[in-house]
């Protein structure tokens, strides 16, 4: 929220922002900021430029050379066509969607119901159970890999979408419950008292009052979880595997690195295809994303 807003200096007010003294719009500072922005963007920019160059040119001259000779460079989108069709990235893209959307919705739903119960319904053991749930934040995913894989091979869940949804859900739940509890428990008490008098059930209170009011918190966590699942390599590698039928984009990209390590026209285009969705989500929803980060970020 505050992080993305920039207050304009107002005339007549000595110092609007505490950390914005008068002399500091100085030249060295501006140059420094510019250099930092440039350095941070350069690697990604180089990738983007390379991905639209002719494959034969990439290893002959550096990508900066293509920019210098802007009009003498062979620009092409063939790399993307090749990656999406021949390399199966289009297929992986669908797989990623199939994996990511339920893996975002399911944990948020479960966590919201649980957070509401922990915050507003009295039941035996609730304090202890909530402490345990938050305590589970410390468990690294590595602790779960071997036992869960044993269960999955018995139940034939390895390599299925159902299996990976449940895995991502379970790994996302502690943080989701923690964050949503922090929000839902802060809702004003009278809301629930008046609903109680009207004879509403807990399910009605939850769906009609709590959920609509919690949209900011739900949205912030949704972006978090979406990006996390979309970008995940380890969980997908272990539970979904490298079978082309089900492999998600990070796994597909990892395979490209293994199989086409020096064919940069394929690698760069492939990398960029995997980034399109997260970058889009990020640029469109940056404010909500920042809000989620500021609400506490202890993903384990």
């Amino acid at each position: 929220m505050t992080a993305t807003s920039t207050a304009k200096p107002v005339k007549g007010v000595a110092s609007v922002r505490a950390w914005r003294p008068m002399m500091l719009q100085s030249l060295p500072l501006k140059v420094g900021v510019l250099v930092i922005c440039l350095l941070w963007t350069l690697p990604t920019f180089g990738l983007l430029v390379t991905s639209v160059r002719d494959g034969r040119d990439i290893t002959v001259t550096g990508w900066w050379d293509a920019l210098i000779h802007l009009f003498n460079t062979r620009w092409t989108f063939d790399n993307y066509a090749q990656v999406v069709n021949a390399q199966g990235m289009g297929n992986s893209f669908l797989n990623s969607l199939i994996v990511t959307i339920p893996s975002t919705v399911i944990p948020i739903t479960m966590a919201a119901f649980a957070a509401y119960a922990f915050a507003w319904i009295r039941f035996p053991g609730r304090g202890l159970l909530f402490t345990i749930v938050v305590g589970l934040l410390v468990v690294p995913i590595q602790m779960a890999l071997i036992p869960v894989l044993q269960i999955y091979s018995v139940l034939h869940l390895t390599g299925t979408f159902l299996g990976i949804w449940l895995a991502h859900t379970a790994f996302g739940l502690p943080l989701a419950i923690f964050l949503l509890y922090n929000f839902i428990s802060q809702l004003p008490k009278d809301l629930f008292e008046s609903a109680d008098i009207d004879g509403a059930t807990h399910y009605q209170i939850f769906t009609k009052i709590v959920l609509p009011l919690s949209v900011p918190a739900l949205g912030a966590f949704a972006i978090f979880q979406f990006l996390w699942v979309w970008n995940d390599l380890l969980v997908s590698l272990v539970f979904l595997g490298v079978n082309a039928n089900v492999q998600v984009m990070p796994v597909a990209l990892y395979n490209l690195v293994g199989n086409h390590g020096e064919q940069w026209h394929i690698l760069t285009a492939g990398a960029f295809v995997t980034m399109i969705v997260p970058l889009g989500v990020f640029l469109l929803l940056q404010r909500a994303f920042v809000r989620g980060i500021l609400a506490g970020s202890v993903k384990s």
């Binding site: 992080a3 993305t4 922002r17 505490a18 950390w19 914005r20 003294p21 719009q25 500072l29 420094g32 900021v33 930092i36 941070w40 963007t41 690697p43 990604t44 180089g46 990738l47 290893t59 002959v60 001259t61 550096g62 900066w64 399911i106 479960m110 119901f113 649980a114 119960a117 009295r122 039941f123 159970l129 749930v133 589970l136 410390v138 690294p140 602790m143 890999l145 071997i146 299925t160 895995a167 379970a170 790994f171 739940l173 419950i177 399910y203 990006l227 970008n231 390599l233 590698l237 984009m249 990070p250 990209l253 690195v257 990398a271 997260p278 990020f282 640029l283 506490g296 202890v298 384990s300």
Partner: protein
């Protein structure tokens, strides 16, 4: 009036029983959908069936042989998956609530909290609590037993991984937090701050695999006789250096891998610390200026102590991510060239060497390493008033 009330009552009663009935139907659909999803060829067979029914025999045969309109079959699968996954979870909660709604009010009050928390608790119980127990047990008795599983870590390879993890922890955390703090302070003083921040923040959206490809290209190496199209070697050779195979040259390769993480995590640190800096009150700053503090003193002696809580939050959060680093090392080197870390070693032990006991022991070591950092993190959040 009476008629109206009676009909309303009847509608109410009808709904009372219709909802659970709908729930049962929904659960059946859910079960069928789940079975459909578990079958790898389910979507292709379904589409083939549709083609048969519409008289497109060639299309159907092609699909059954794994060819033809597989993309269309995939789209159907995606549709079913989304309905089952997203609709299913809501069906579970609304259905269970409706069924509980048939009970006496007193029973309802007792059962409904468990309907809300049990799905989450069940999953957590299986995936995290039970798993932790099994992994610890496996690390003690699995394979050739405790001394072999943990003894492995004390051999040169294991110690190298621990050493690298410490390098990652110190430089990755320190680099991200330090740079994040400096950049937050710098950007706070220029116009178009939000735009400038976006540039540094953007890598956070990129996957670690994607970031690894980006930086693999930067670190790319060619023999001296060939053109250097990797950015780092191009700059290096233009200053007269011999081209270096950065990723394969210890010890610098580990530092260069850490740099990728710093590039990603600095944006996170910057955002949190920037918000904290803006929260420092004007009065405090003005008072310090009156006392003759210069800008650097002001920052180090006034701002930093005030935002200490946020710095700890950021540092611990980044430290946990960095300690568990897997993707970058796995993609860039696969743990070769003396760059191995615990998470990669664990993965390779499990999936390449099938040494479950050793893999479990490495997971436990990672768990124990994360434990104190997580403890500081949670205590710090609590002090700041989160999660009371």
């Amino acid at each position: 009036m009476a008629v109206q009330a009676a009909s309303a009552d009847r509608a109410d009663r009808a709904r009372r029983y219709l909802v659970p009935l709908g729930t049962v139907v929904g659960l059946v659909i859910l079960a069928v959908g789940t079975v459909f999803l578990a079958d790898p060829k389910g979507a292709a067979n379904l589409l083939a069936g549709i083609y048969d029914a519409t008289g497109n025999a060639t299309g159907a045969t092609a699909l059954r042989n794994g060819q033809g309109d597989t993309f269309l079959a995939k789209l159907i699968l995606a549709g079913v998956a989304l309905i089952v996954g997203v609709g299913g979870i809501w069906m579970v909660f609304s259905g269970a609530s409706a069924i509980v709604g048939l009970l006496k009010p007193k029973m309802q009050a007792r059962i409904i909290p468990w309907v809300f928390v049990l799905p989450a608790l069940t999953l957590l119980g299986i995936y995290l609590v039970y798993s932790t127990g099994v992994t610890i047990w496996e690390s003690i008795v699995g394979d050739k037993g405790f001394s072999d599983n943990y003894g492995q870590i004390l051999k040169p390879d294991g110690l190298a991984a621990i050493r690298n993890n410490i390098i990652w922890l110190v430089l990755g955390t320190g680099g991200s937090v330090g740079l994040g703090l400096v950049i937050a302070a710098m950007f706070d003083r220029v116009r178009r701050e939000a735009l400038a921040k976006t540039f540094v923040f953007l890598p956070l959206a990129i996957s670690l695999v994607g970031a690894s490809v980006i930086w693999r290209f930067v670190y790319e190496w060619r023999p001296a006789s060939q053109p250097q199209y990797g950015l780092l070697n191009a700059v290096w050779t233009s200053f007269g250096g011999q081209p270096i195979n950065w990723v394969a040259t210890p010890p610098i390769n580990t530092y260069l891998l850490v740099l990728i993480m710093v590039w990603l995590q600095t944006g996170f640190a910057m955002v949190v610390l920037s918000a904290a800096i803006k929260g420092v009150s004007t009065e405090v700053m003005e008072a310090a200026r009156m006392d003759g503090a210069n800008e650097r003193q002001l920052f180090l002696k006034v701002v930093v102590p005030i935002i200490k809580g946020s710095i700890i939050t950021v540092a611990t959060t980044v430290a946990i991510v960095v300690l568990k680093v897997f993707d970058i090392v796995y993609v860039m080197t696969g743990g070769r060239y003396d760059t191995d870390v615990l998470a990669v070693q664990m993965y390779l032990d499990k999936f390449q060497f099938f040494e479950d006991g050793r893999a479990a022991a490495l997971a436990v070591v990672l768990f124990v390493a994360v434990l104190p950092i997580m403890f500081i993190n949670l205590r710090n959040l609590r002090q700041q008033g989160v999660g009371k």
